[in-house]
């Protein structure tokens, strides 16, 4: 039976994991730093080169990674409930496709980084409005219709991205490909993404029990007093905005949004903690954030000074972890 106390203990443990991952991110890198440097950077005292590197480069990047991972995992968990499909991810409804078109068009036009972020966010919003407008056409949007519209818009965006890549000048291609794979090298201002992640949790958590019902079918949720249409609309809007902010921060980083909520759910079930969105939403956000921090730390240290796109690392880390968990999924209770 689910209890608040157990949920708080699990959340506290995951918070510890998040702090640990951030500490690793601050300590790791080509410039060796001491524990004193890390504490000094966090404490705000002036210091040597180590403190400067941590405060100016590693800390903002690690926080951006955490925010991005948290946003994607939370959006994925919401999308899986909305579409009632454990295989849904934040990108399935075309939001990352729209952001890619925006970002790559800005790069093609040679715009600044700030304008590229604006273009990416505008692209994500445009895709979201397009999908919602089309899927909502007959005033009774069904899951199939929403999914189909999203998939079609996403593949349309994919075609435009391919077009941009094929006409882009050689020297711009590398940046574009890194963006498409997900890259946090330029994400040095994490405050907006962190604020949106906190806001997303604050908005979603009061409705988590409604989401537990929604996951078991519209008619059951309806019969038990959930205003299904309004809650679904809210979930769609929230998941889309979280995804838009995440891709604007770090490009379309794959894998986190699909697999982290899934992994967290599998782990919770395996531990006998059930499948409760009140626990799953914050746990996914924390686990997604921690995983992306670790992946990004590896991305910038594995082949240093060469930097890898973090999206490659998320998949390389997550795929085996996921397969192990899936392989051990208990059917013996049957």
């Amino acid at each position: 039976m689910p209890t608040r106390r157990r949920a708080l203990i699990i959340i506290a443990a995951l918070l510890g994991l998040a702090v640990l991952s951030l500490a690793i991110a601050l300590a790791a890198g080509s410039l060796p730093v001491t524990a004193g440097d890390v504490l000094g950077a966090l404490g705000g005292s002036p210091g040597g080169l180590g403190v400067e590197v941590i405060r100016g480069l590693r800390l903002p990047r690690a926080l951006a990674a955490f925010a991005c991972g948290g946003l994607l995992a939370l959006a994925g968990a919401l999308m899986q409930i909305l579409l009632r499909n454990p295989l849904a991810d934040p990108y399935v409804l075309g939001i990352s496709g729209g952001a890619s078109v925006g970002a790559l068009s800005a790069m093609l036009a040679g715009l600044s980084l700030a304008l590229m972020n604006v273009a990416a966010f505008a692209g994500a919003l445009a895709a979201m409005l397009l999908v919602f407008g089309l899927a909502h056409g007959d005033n009774s949007w069904t899951r199939t219709r929403l999914l189909l519209t999203g998939v079609i818009v996403a593949s349309g965006c994919g075609a435009i991205v391919a077009l941009i890549l094929s006409i882009a000048p050689e020297d711009g291609l590398r940046g574009m490909i890194f963006w498409l794979m997900g890259d946090l090298a330029h994400a040095l201002s994490p405050s907006l993404a962190l604020a949106v992640l906190a806001l997303g949790l604050v908005v979603a958590l009061p409705f988590a029990r409604e989401l537990n019902l929604l996951a078991r079918g519209d008619s059951l949720a309806h019969a038990l007093g959930v205003t299904v249409r309004q809650v679904k609309f809210g979930v769609y809007l929230l998941a889309s905005l979280l995804t838009a902010v995440a891709v604007t921060t770090g490009g379309s980083i794959g894998f986190i949004g699909l697999v982290v909520p899934h992994m967290v759910r599998l782990a919770m079930i395996r531990m006998g903690w059930g499948n409760d969105q009140r626990l799953l939403l914050p746990a996914s956000a924390l686990a997604g954030g921690s995983l992306l921090v670790l992946a990004d730390t590896l991305a910038r240290t594995l082949l240093a000074p060469q930097q890898l796109p973090v999206g490659v690392l998320t998949a390389l880390l997550g795929v085996p972890a996921f397969l192990i968990l899936l392989g051990r999924q208990p059917n013996e209770r049957q």
């Binding site: 039976m1 078991r216 079918g217 038990l224 007093g225 205003t227 059930g274 499948n275 009140r278």
Partner: protein, 267 residues
Amino acid sequence: MNASEPLLNGPLLETRGLDVGIGGHSICRRLDWRVEAGQSWAILGRNGAGKSTLLATLAGLHAQQAGRLEVAGLPLPGANRGDGARAMARVRGFLSQHQMDPFASTVMETVLVGRHPHLGRWDWESASDGRIAAAALAEVDLGGFAERDVQTLSGGERQRLAIAILLTQQPRLFLLDEPLTHLDLSHQVAVMDLFARRADKGASIVAVLHDPGFAARYCGHALLLFGDGEWLAGPADEVINTENLGRLYGHPLHELQADGQRWFVPR
């Protein structure tokens, strides 16, 4: 008195001049019907007559075309909007024909969703909610199943779990869409018995059934839907007979007697 509070006495369900239809097909025209507290009603009709659609309308999931519909004095569909939806869910429960479990979850967790309308936004299920849920599981013969994954249940077990959710919800009006689907004979009787006990304590039961014998045995009243908008409502002794059933199903029937009980078999 607050107009949005359900009435504690009076009929649990009342319709006046209710027109229900779906896709240009009329299910009932000008239905005048009262379900008093403690009454059990069977809804009978052939496939596609609109039994489920009528039940969904009574649950507030489908809007009527015309006429008045009140559940415990609250007008539908209006009372089912916004905050009213939770108040409505404390009065009427609805057993849907289809159950789905796209995600793994334990039986206990699943049955506890029935407490949702009784809990505040930030509340978690208390020990007393747990006791209500455990009692409901025991009542449908799922006592030892609390920690099982719902995705591993058989069809009949899943159906009994859906009934346990409904019992955990503790409504006063039970709307049951084919409650006996997937159930073996002994569980069919057990489920009808447990709803009969609820009716004895003042709850009202409206159940879509396929066996007129079960309807005659467990329901004091019956509503017959003839599929063309025509309907017939009244005490089961009067409306459930071979003549009406023959017209209802488009097939002649025999009436048999056993232990003072009427059973109907196709000729």
